[in-house]
Symmetry: C2
Subunit: 375 residues, 2 copies
C-alpha cells in the first residue's frame, strides 16, 4: 500500500527525538510507569529487609534518563496496528526500558565499565556503598566483589520486573499471549547477541561476519524490530504488518547501532554519557573496527593492534586510533551503510500496511532521529 | 480438617526422596521437560550463531541432576488442590528447576565457587573453554573475565527460559494468571534473599536476625512455600489451601535449609557435590554460624574469626571450625530447630484442607525426606 506521505517522509527537515516526542510525550509517560512500578516494588522489598532499599534506589537511578527508544518503537508499532491509545500501551512499553536496564547493568559488569549515562555504573555504585559501609564499621569484605554481586542481582531484578511490568500492564490475556512470543524472542536474542559480542571481544578477532551478527541481534532486533512487533501484537496487528515492521525495523536498527558505534568512538561525552573513546579502551569489536582491520595498511594495522583495547589509552592514542578509522575509510563506509539502511527502512515504511498517518509520520521521524549525528 | 492419616505421617519409617518419587516419577518427567525445552531453544539459538551451542550445552549440563525438590513441591501442591494430573503440571513445575539453575549459576559467580553438583561451576567451565580457544588460536583475552561474563548470560537465559517454560506449559490463561503472582513473588524473593546474603557476607556480621531472614527468603519461600503456591494455583486451589500450604511450607523450608547448612559444613562431598567444608571457606553466614558466634567462648571466637572465610583452609583447620560449631552447641541447636520446624510443618499438614490422600502422604514424606540427614 503506497501512501502519499511516503514521499513526505523523505524530507522531514531537522528531526530530533524531541520533535518526535512532541507527538506523544513518551519519555514522561515511561518515567511515570517506571516510577509507579518501582514504588510498589519498594514496599514489597521493604517487607523482606531494609537492605533492599539499596537495590530499589539503584533501580530508580538506572531507569532514569536514556532516550526511551525501545518504548517509543513499541508505542508506534501499537498505533500503527490501529491500537487504541486509551489502552495501557505505555505501561507495557515501559517494560522494554526495564529490560534494557537489566542488559545495561550486566553489560557494564561484563565490560568493567565505570560509567553509564554520566553516572557510576551500578557495580561501581554498590562498590562505593560497601566501601563506605566497611569504613564506617571497620570490618567487611571485598568491595569489588560486593559491587559485582549486587549488580548481577540488580540486573536479575530488572529482568524479572520487565516481565512483571508486561504481564501486569492491564492488557487482556489474549493480547498478552500474542505479544509474548515476541517478548520471549527479544529477551533471548539480546542475551544471545551479548554472548556473540563477548566471544568476539575474547577472541580478539575482528571478523566482519560476526560483527554483522552482533549488530543484528544485539541491536537491530532488540532496539527496533521486536519492540515494534510487541506493540503491533498488543494492538492486534496481523502477520502482514509484523513482516512489514521487520522490513522497516531491521535495517533501521542496524543503522541506529552503526551510528551508536560511531558515537562510541567520536561522540561528545556530554551527549553519550560515556568518557571519550571508551569503546576504544574496551576493545569493542564493531562493524567499524572490523572494516578498519580489513582495509588498513600494514603500518596502520600494527598501530591498531598495539593500542586497541588497552584500558589506559591517553588522549593522543585515542586520536591516533580515530585517525586510523578515518584513513582506512571505515568511518565513511559506516556512514554509507547508515544512509543506505535508513533509506531501506523508509522504503519499507512506504510499502507498509499502515492506515494511521500519525503513526506513519512518527515512524519516519524516528528513523531519521535514531540515526542522526545529533542523537 | 483433621485426617486419620495425619498420625500415620508421623511414623513414616525411613523415607528417602527415592521413596517419595516412587509415587510419581518426578525426576524423570522434569528431566524430559527440560531436555525437550532446550532442544527447541537449541534450534532457535543455532539460527543466531554457532557460538550459542556453548550456552545451550552449558544449560543442559547445569539442569542435569539435582534433587528436583522445587518441582516436587509444585507438583504436590497441584495435586493437593485437586488438580488433574493429566494436565501439563510437570512441564510447568520444570520451570522452577530452570529458575533454580539461574540462581545457582549467578550464585556461583558471586561466591567464586569452583564446583557445583560435582562438576565445574558454569563460570569455570566457560573459563576453561576460553583458555582452550586462546591456546588453539594463540590470541585472545582474559579467560577469567570471559567465564564470568558467559555465566552471567547463562543465568540470564535460564531466568528468561524459566518464564517461557511456565507460560508455554500448556495451562489455560486463567490458571496461568492465578499462578503468576506467586511466580513473580518467588523470583523477586530469591533475588532479594541473595542480596541479604551478600550484605551479610560482606559485612562479616553474624547477626542472627539477618541469618533468619536469609533462611526465610533465600530458602523457605523459594524452595517450598512458593512452589506449593504455584502448583496449588494452577490446580485451582483457594485461599484457605494457599494459607495452609504456607503454614506447612515455611517451617519446612527453614528446616530444609538448616539441614542444608549443616551438610555444607559436615556433609559427605560425594553426596553434596561440593568439596568438604566449602561453606567454611566461603565464609557463608548461616543460622548455624550465627548461633556459634553468639555462644562460643572467647577463645573459640578468636579461633573462629581467624579461620572462618579463609579460602585456603586445610583439613585440620576445617576440623577445628567443625569442633567449635559442635562445642558451642550450634549444631545441636540447629538439629533441635530442624526437628521442631518439621513437626510444625507436619502439624500444619494435619490441619490442611487436602482431600487427596496420596497428596497428603507425599507431602508428609517430602517433609521427612527434605530434612533428613541422608538427603
Amino acid at each position: 500500500m503506497l501512501k502519499a506521505t511516503g514521499t513526505c517522509a523523505r524530507a522531514p527537515g531537522p528531526t530530533t527525538l524531541r520533535d518526535v516526542y512532541a507527538e506523544a510525550d513518551i519519555p514522561t509517560e515511561i518515567q511515570r510507569a517506571l516510577t509507579s512500578f518501582l514504588d510498589i516494588q519498594q514496599e514489597r522489598l521493604a517487607a523482606i529487609g531494609p537492605e533492599l532499599e539499596e537495590q530499589v534506589q539503584a533501580a530508580r537511578d538506572a531507569t532514569s534518563g536514556g532516550k526511551r527508544l525501545r518504548p517509543s518503537f513499541c508505542y508506534w508499532g501499537f498505533r500503527a496496528a490501529g491500537g487504541n491509545p486509551e489502552l495501557p500501551i505505555l505501561k507495557a512499553a515501559a517494560s522494554l526500558e526495564m529490560l534494557h536496564v537489566s542488559a545495561l547493568v550486566h553489560d557494564d559488569v561484563m565490560d568493567s565499565s565505570d560509567v553509564r549515562r554520566g553516572a557510576p555504573a551500578a557495580h561501581r555504585r554498590f562498590e562505593a556503598l560497601q566501601r563506605a559501609r566497611s569504613a564506617a564499621s571497620g570490618t567487611g569484605g571485598d568491595p569489588v566483589g560486593f559491587g559485582i554481586g549486587a549488580a548481577i542481582l540488580l540486573g536479575d531484578l530488572c529482568l524479572i520486573w520487565a516481565d512483571e511490568m508486561m504481564h501486569t500492564s492491564g492488557f487482556d490475556a489474549a493480547s498478552l499471549a500474542s505479544a509474548s512470543k515476541f517478548f520471549d524472542a527479544v529477551r533471548v536474542e539480546v542475551t544471545a547477541g551479548q554472548y556473540l559480542d563477548l566471544v568476539a571481544q575474547a577472541s580478539g578477532e575482528a571478523d566482519m561476519d560476526r560483527a554483522l551478527r552482533v549488530l543484528r541481534y544485539k541491536a537491530a532486533t532488540y532496539t527496533v524490530e521486536r519492540p515494534l512487533h510487541i506493540g503491533a501484537a498488543l494492538g492486534g496487528g496481523g502477520q502482514h504488518l509484523i513482516d512489514s515492521l521487520s522490513a522497516y525495523g531491521l535495517p533501521l536498527g542496524e543503522a541506529f547501532q552503526l551510528r551508536d558505534d560511531l558515537l562510541g568512538v567520536f561522540g561528545d561525552p556530554s551527549k553519550t554519557g560515556k568518557p571519550a573513546g571508551d569503546d576504544l579502551r574496551e576493545g569493542k569489536r564493531t562493524v567499524l573496527t572490523a572494516y578498519a582491520v580489513e582495509h588498513a595498511s600494514e603500518v596502520q594495522l600494527a598501530e591498531f593492534d598495539r593500542l586497541f583495547g588497552r584500558p589506559d589509552l591517553d588522549s593522543d592514542e585515542i586520536q591516533l586510533l580515530r585517525e586510523i578509522l578515518q584513513d582506512s575509510r571505515a568511518v565513511q563506509a559506516c556512514e554509507n551503510l547508515i544512509t543506505e539502511r535508513t533509506e531501506d527502512a523508509l522504503d519499507a515504511l512506504d510499502r507498509a500496511p499502515i492506515d494511521d498517518e500519525t503513526s506513519r509520520k512518527a515512524l519516519a521521524d524516528l528513523a531519521i532521529a535514531a540515526t542522526s549525528r545529533h542523537l
